[in-house]
Symmetry: C2
Subunit: 335 residues, 2 copies
Amino acid sequence: MNIKEVARRANVSISTVSRVINNTAKVSPDARARVEKVLKETKYRPNSLARELQQKRTNTIGILMSAYDFDSSSIGKSINAITDILKSEGYNIMLGNSRFHEDEEFEFLRVFQEKRVDGILYFASSFSDKHKEILEDYPIPIVMVGQKYDEIDIPYVIYDDYNGAKTATEYIIKQGHQKIGYIGCPLYDTAAGVMRKKGYEDAFREAGINNDIGYEIEGDFTLESGYKAAKELFSRNISKPSALVVATDFMAMGTIRYLTEQGLNVPNDISVIGFDDINVSAYYNPPLTTIRTDKEDAGIQASNLLLSILRKESVTKTHVTVGYELIKRNSVKSI
Amino acid sequence: MNIKEVARRANVSISTVSRVINNTAKVSPDARARVEKVLKETKYRPNSLARELQQKRTNTIGILMSAYDFDSSSIGKSINAITDILKSEGYNIMLGNSRFHEDEEFEFLRVFQEKRVDGILYFASSFSDKHKEILEDYPIPIVMVGQKYDEIDIPYVIYDDYNGAKTATEYIIKQGHQKIGYIGCPLYDTAAGVMRKKGYEDAFREAGINNDIGYEIEGDFTLESGYKAAKELFSRNISKPSALVVATDFMAMGTIRYLTEQGLNVPNDISVIGFDDINVSAYYNPPLTTIRTDKEDAGIQASNLLLSILRKESVTKTHVTVGYELIKRNSVKSI
DNA sequence: TTGTAGGCGTTATCAT
DNA sequence: ATGATAACGCCTACAA
């Protein structure tokens, strides 16, 4: 069933059918009635492909993410906000998850281009020369979320990972801790990996504390890796830390589980501070002290930024940084 | 830039360009070289819309979900598996989240039809007459995930919610508990809501135990609702339960948090069993005893089912039920 | 108010 | 091996 057949059955031209479908011009009540009757009878649905081909816009936004999964990141929260906003503006969403495989990432960039999505929300993680080459003259508007790529001028919405981690560490120091361990994210992730670690380290520097070598270790975002990292850290031949800064709440929970199994009480025996404030954090035992980043807000900001770019509005603020907040709960104790 | 312009620059016909792009017929090395040169120089990308319009398939699968968000359900896990499988088969994904608004659900069904997606994976929640009307002669293959709709013959992949909840309750009973509370999901959800509750209730019936009235209460999937439900349940004028069956792990965590705040130790003072086995469950304090449903497997099964339908294979098993497993950890104690 | 016809960018068919 | 040309289904001048 297509517009031509509808026209034939309603005994009008296809233009008239198009007019009643899109309400784009006056149609006589008589013709309109006949057309609508056929429309209903045949359950006709216009073919978006044809329409979009001719209008040169697809009303579709591509979301490109490179997470292991929805569970180990908190990307889901951002996507909730994004889908809501974009939907209300008439956009649909095409989803691509590269699972950290660069090749797939480039592949999606290609597919999005061939599918002619109107814009892209790009939850990137790492960058290479190939990225630069591709993104440098990519024809579709992109807004990055969670990461920035300094070598190219692309609008972005990021978190203040550096100051967040620094604030967390300073808070721990202020509670009297001196031996403070750090469980971080992989360094290919320039935001959660590099910046948070830097924030942690700089907090010591500025506090004039000499945090000995050997207190840093790396996880991979998962709960399990937090558990393992804590285990590994505690098997090292160093004087035991009295507090742990952990780069994500998920890993912090893995960490606490390990400590608990070792008979250590958090926060009485050892303090732990996380990062993210995911939905479980407030309900964990103990409730997690953490740095809250507003993933939802990031999604909103990114959507709106992309939207105004698509509307060709003169956007002045193409680089936005979402704030953070220290949430004091019950996994940190002063000594 | 389009195929016509490429043809002009390479001094060949558009047919030839099409041939080298799709490798669909022999092309002289000479012509091929010229075309490829232009392809590279112009960074030409074929327009999928045009191709799909003419081929009558979009290589796109629509995923329709009706969750509040990615966090309160464990739908993310299924989607991970789905995206992997579909991607490897050359399909792309279009995502629609209705947020439990029926109208938006129908809207997405319409959009998916207009966008001509090849198939749909439908994470439904509730059903109405309108659903029946729309789905009855919907022209695109659908596979339902997590729910079935008995009034219409649609292939589905579901969990064994009934037996899972029954097994959980039986296990609790076997541990010597008699006063067992239940924190459930909303009943518009026929799977997690209705079936799990039924499993809980039938366990008593068959065990010949008279579980008094007043032990059931309803949450809404969120952690917070689990907390509140526990609070409400314990404020009732009934002899306190010694165990709680909670319909989702998220709610179970909310529940345990409340109990902990009341100075009750889980499992020493009261036992709690959950449902789902989400990623945090094993790392919660205490580690959660729960019914594991394999969301990933459900995603795999659903994808494969849809795939074979699309391939017009004669599929015999259009109704599949994914198994479950009782995971004994440390939130239940025998008395 | 209505209809005709060209074009959107491909692929597919049919000659050559 | 190559090229014309007719679809695919729609929108949009332009003409009537």
